[in-house]
Amino acid sequence: MLKIKDLTVNVGNKEILKGLNLEVNAGEIHAIMGPNGAGKSTLSHVLSGKSGYEVTGGSVTFNGKDLLEMPAEIRAREGVFLAFQYPVEIAGVTNVYLLKAALNAVRKHKGLSEVDAMDFLTLVKAKTKALEMDEKFLYRAVNEGFSGGEKKRNEILQMAMLEPQLCILDETDSGLDIDALRIVADGVNALRSPDRAFIMVTHYQRLLDYIKPDFVHVLADGKIVKSGGAELALELEEKGYGWLEQA
């Protein structure tokens, strides 16, 4: 599904990613861990099409198509979804309008008709309930005045509505208490499917107690320096990242 080859990325004049390789197939869950400043957020942003990052080398393909050539909205419509570390607050735009506009943009791209208003409401209410969110959130401005946990749940709600193929979770566990973490993790687990893949970018192993990865990669100094199974995360938790950087 996703193939990243020798990816190098600059921010300003500084090289942040220094030849990153990663292959993600449908049905897999990958965790990318690493110390602060290793390039984890840069990787999520580059995959989602945020501006301000200069790709200086390498390639990224998504289902065989050149992902880096696509504007951000086309990536989203093709099925790449980024759950933000810091979701933006948008005054005056209701959640329900954003969800509907986004869903219709994705459907149109796939050659489907606009969603029927009643069907949409039924769907969005069901998804909202599954994430233990109050329906009132739908009619509030996007993320405005939401707590950290509510913002992250809202990201998962958008993900559940858009049904992307590749979900990138950028530090989704940051700022969550245990209850919120469980709800978010349940939401993600409910979306697991043989057709869908996940990349979880995280500093801590905590999230991985709730969403069990198939692969764990350690990102340090712009490269993946070690890959393994779920047990690698536990080893990192115990030993920290220092031993990898020395090696």
Binding site: A72, V88, V93
Partner: protein, 405 residues
């Protein structure tokens, strides 16, 4: 109209206008707005035309009064009972004493547009709402411009004590010709009375517009104004209110300029006595080469202790060539007051645009959504549902992807 008291006032204004003409841009209040193009047009005052080609205006939820080129058309209008409401020309015959006692009294300072109006107004609406009368339906004045001319109208609105009403002023043109609307309203809000006034300016794209509203608020009177400046090539709006003890004044505004539109908004809130409250919030959105002006002044007289006043002006510039001149002023002579003002000028937030794009929404739509949301805050303040929907839809024609119809 050959009534001597009025003739005197009109003659004075005529003399004054002949001396000064329309305001020159060396006057402080006009420094951002050059109106010399209007004088060059050499418009004359519009004539009454017998046959107009309109159907009676539909407005199920309002009483409405139609002015075509500055002349009242009863046959196109829908009039309420129980209150005194008629054209100024009728009021000169039937309510002369009341009209004379109020006429020109709310205007403390004139300029060329006001003088011209006083000297030349063709007609206008006279509204008198008696003590304790609460109007359930809004009154709506509809100005329709069809002639290439100056269309001067003069309205006088009087609410006696404890009366309550809302009034909508619409300015429209079915044509694209040049003309000058010159509309002056004098408003007297009596003790503990409550008036909400909406102005929706959708003049034609080559039109010039001057609209001035001059308000006297008695003790405990409440006046709310919502000002939507959407149309015209060049528009200037004056809102001036004098507040007596514990009066409350709320001014909301939205100016939405594109192409080479010039939209100037001047407001003056004068707290003359203690315990007054004022809230002012104007928002501007300027695209292309449009030029916006906000000149807001709040005056707190020496007497006006315990005044509580806030003024905000937020501007969104959508193009590098768009321009805003914003000048909020507090002029405070009392020592025990709570006054604040704030101004912002900015562009759409890149992070918000990217957030929407990351959800599959294209850049143009994302910008429409964010711009619409910025403007809609002012539309949401409209408390008459049919008017709110109408202004909402007007906004949507400017930013079609901005919201769900």
């Amino acid at each position: 109209m050959s009534i001597s008291w009025l003739n005197d006032i009109r003659q004075q204004a005529k003399n004054q206008f002949e001396k000064t003409g329309f305001p020159a841009s060396n006057l402080e209040d006009w420094r951002y707005t050059n109106v010399s193009a209007i004088a060059k047009k050499e418009f004359s005052v519009a004539k009454f035309v017998e046959d107009v080609d309109f159907d009676a205006v539909e407005s199920g939820s309002a009483f409405h009064f139609v002015f075509v080129d500055g002349y009242f058309r009863e046959e196109l209008s829908n009039l309420p009972e129980k209150i005194t409401i008629c054209s100024i020309n009728d009021a000169l015959k039937n309510h002369a004493d009341l009209l004379q006692s109020k006429f020109n009294q709310a205007i403390k300072q004139t300029h060329g547009f006001i003088d011209f109006n006083t000297a030349n107004f063709t007609d206008g609406l006279f509204v008198h709402i008696a003590k304790n009368v609460v109007l359930e339906k809004p009154l709506q004045i509809i100005h329709i411009a069809t002639q290439e001319a100056i269309l001067p109208t003069r309205h006088v609105v009087i609410l006696d004590a404890n009366a309550k009403a809302s009034l909508i002023e619409m300015f429209v043109s079915p044509e694209k010709h040049a003309y000058l609307t010159n509309s002056v309203a004098e408003v007297f809000v009596g003790e503990n009375a409550n008036l909400t006034l909406y102005k929706v300016q959708q003049e034609g794209e080559n039109a010039y517009h001057f609209g001035g509203t001059y308000v006297q608020q008695a003790d405990n009177a409440r006046f709310t104004h919502h000002n939507f400046a959407l149309g015209s090539l060049l528009a200037r709006s004056d809102i001036v209110s004098d507040l007596e003890t514990a009066a409350e004044c709320e001014l909301n505004g939205l100016y939405l300029g594109s192409q080479n539109q010039h939209l100037d908004n001047l407001t003056r809130i004068n707290h003359l006595q203690p315990h007054g409250i004022s809230r002012e919030f104007y928002k501007g959105i300027l695209n292309d080469q449009a030029h916006g002006v906000f000149q807001g002044r709040i005056l707190v007289a020496e007497n006006a202790q315990n005044t509580d006043s806030q003024m905000n002006n937020c501007n969104l510039l959508l193009s590098n060539e768009a321009e805003i001149d914003t000048k909020p002023q507090l002029e405070i002579y009392a020592d025990d007051v709570k006054c604040a003002h704030g101004v912002t000028v900015g562009q759409l937030d890149e992070k918000s645009i990217f957030y929407l794009q990351s959800r599959g929404i294209d850049e143009v739509s994302a910008k429409h959504i964010l711009t619409f949301a910025f403007a809609n805050e002012m539309v949401d303040k409209i408390t008459i549902p049919s008017l709110r929907d109408a202004v909402f839809n007007l906004l949507l024609t400017r930013f079609p992807e901005g919201a769900e119809r």
